[in-house]
């Protein structure tokens, strides 16, 4: 792996918020054209790590280095425009900077919501909003896309479609993608590499490997019917994973 293929790298990141250790010595690196999923339970520090990578949160210790001139497209976890502010999708998309009408239409078409161009942003559904935010990130012609819970507020079918879209965006634009999810099985088909976070990095690697990693299983609970191998776990967690049913779907997301 040559240096210029690494888009972003974080080393030994430690962050405390209000006296509580949120991230403890986290390493992360992301290569060009790679999709990395950051998973972990609530309170694991996923969003904090993303904020550190974006430069929104200064780490107490550790260092983030970005490839010089790296353009980042960011999709925040939640964005609600108050109805007191009259804003169309078109105007929302141009808030990040001037873009041609042609680029607007092309990008909206790419994420599948071209017809919404002149809709008031308060009138569109949660899933449509995620796509519009994705379009705003894409309009910056990013080398790196950072997506915080990109399928939040989207129903199950919509989630699969959205992940397929994210995969196709990577294929078409060749950008690296760092995305946050609270559930591995949702992102499994789309990602190249998974980083399982619970204040520190529990395990990382290919999604299949992570899904059978004991530290992952301890964090999220074992899936019945899945082949397990034994392994001596070398650390403990004070946070328990969520309960899952036999079909393997996680309860309570969305």
């Amino acid at each position: 792996m040559t240096a210029d293929q690494i888009l972003a790298e974080a080393k030994g990141i430690c962050v405390s918020l209000q006296g509580r250790m949120v991230l403890d010595g986290v390493d992360l690196s992301l290569n060009a054209g790679e999709i990395l999923a950051l998973i972990g339970p609530n309170g694991a520090g996923k969003t904090t790590l993303v904020r550190v990578m974006l430069g929104l949160q200064r780490p107490d210790r550790g260092k983030v280095s970005l490839r010089p001139g790296l353009r980042i497209g960011y999709m925040p976890q939640r964005l609600v425009v108050d109805s007191i502010l009259p804003l169309t999708v078109r105007r929302f998309l141009t808030l990040g900077g001037r873009v041609s009408g042609q680029a607007l239409r092309r990008t909206l078409a790419e994420v599948g919501v071209e017809r919404l161009l002149d809709s008031p942003i308060q009138n569109i559904s949660g899933g449509e909003m995620q796509r519009v935010m994705l379009a705003r990130a894409l309009l910056r012609k990013p080398d790196l896309l950072i997506l915080d819970e990109p399928v939040q507020g989207v129903d199950i079918t919509g989630q699969a479609e959205l992940f397929a879209l994210i995969g196709s965006i990577r294929d078409r634009h060749g950008c690296g993608i760092l995305m946050v999810s609270h559930d591995l099985h949702l992102v499994m088909a789309t990602t190249d590499r998974v980083l399982c976070l619970n204040r520190h990095v529990c395990c990382s690697g290919h999604p299949e490997a992570v899904s059978s990693d004991p530290s992952y299983l301890e964090l999220f609970g074992a899936y019945p019917g899945m082949a397990l191998y034994t392994h001596n776990h070398d650390h403990r967690h004070d946070l328990h994973g969520r309960v899952t049913d036999a079909s393997g779907e996680t309860e309570g997301h969305g």
């Binding site: 974006l54 430069g55 964005l79 007191i84 009259p86 105007r91 808030l95 008031p120």
Partner: protein, 264 residues
């Protein structure tokens, strides 16, 4: 038209042209109470201006900015919410202003005029202040328009996209301080926020974009100034409150006609 009436109209229109667009941001950013607090502190500015013999407008701006800084500093603690802090600063500074004024026995100032406005007595100097200050305010607002709007919608996204959030926020705060100093003569410190909020809220009934809302707010403000001054002349009403009542009437007329625009 009488001379004083013409001067009042020119001053009032100058103020309304600025409070409309700026007020749109006050409404979007939910800063109505913040505007009120700065306005209340303006009386302390007036008092200090007389006490230290400096330009009163300048003293008002300085006090408003100092108060805004104090608020930002206080917001770093997490026990008290912002509206509580604003309540403390708002009434604390207003009362302090009243006390300082009361101590200056040699000074006969028209307290009612400062509290509720004295638009019928504006001088040519006042008009110069209003129009020059207003032009500067509008230029600065146009300059920071897109970044300010972007951070109003989502501050962190704007930061990632390269908006210098802290500087833009400071510029916006300075604009509010400037406009309060400008508008005080017209409606008085107790009613200034009404010119920021009511025309902008009226404009929301009809606007489909932020820019439309800003322009319509300026228009609604001008109509309110015209209507209020007319009513004041016609029926001998106090001018400042008449302008505010006219603005409120326009708001309710707008509410009645809102079916003509898309709901959201």
């Amino acid at each position: 038209m009488d001379d004083f009436m013409l001067r009042a109209l020119i001053a009032g229109l100058g103020v309304a042209l600025v409070t409309g667009p700026l007020g749109a941001f006050v409404v979007w950013r939910r800063m109505a109470y913040f505007g009120d607090t700065l306005a209340h502190s303006a009386l302390l500015g007036v008092a200090l201006g007389f006490l230290l013999e400096v330009n009163v407008n300048l003293a008002i701006i300085l006090v408003c900015v100092a108060l805004a800084m104090l608020l930002v500093a206080l917001q770093h603690q997490r026990r008290l919410a912002s509206d509580t802090l604003l309540g403390i600063l708002s009434h604390g500074s207003l009362s302090l202003g009243l006390i300082v004024l009361a101590f200056m026995e040699t000074l006969r100032i028209d307290l009612m005029g400062y509290l509720f406005g004295d638009i019928l007595s504006v001088t040519l100097t006042d008009i110069c202040w209003i129009w020059v200050g207003g032009a500067v305010a509008l230029l600065v607002l146009a300059w920071i328009w897109r970044p300010l709007l972007a951070m109003t919608v989502h501050e962190e996204l704007a930061r990632v996209e390269g908006v210098p959030v802290a500087s833009v926020r400071l510029a916006f705060m300075l604009l509010i301080a400037l406009v309060i100093a400008m508008a005080m003569k017209v409606v008085g410190i107790l009613l200034i926020t009404s010119l920021l909020i009511i025309p902008a809220a009226t404009a929301r009934w009809f606007a489909n974009t932020p820019e439309q809302m800003a322009l319509l707010a300026a228009l609604a403000g001008c109509l309110a100034v015209g209507g209020g001054l007319f009513a004041s002349l016609q029926w001998d009403l106090p001018a400042g409150p008449a302008v505010v009542v006219a603005a409120a009437l326009l708001f309710f007329i707008g509410a009645g006609r809102r079916k003509s625009c898309p709901t959201s």
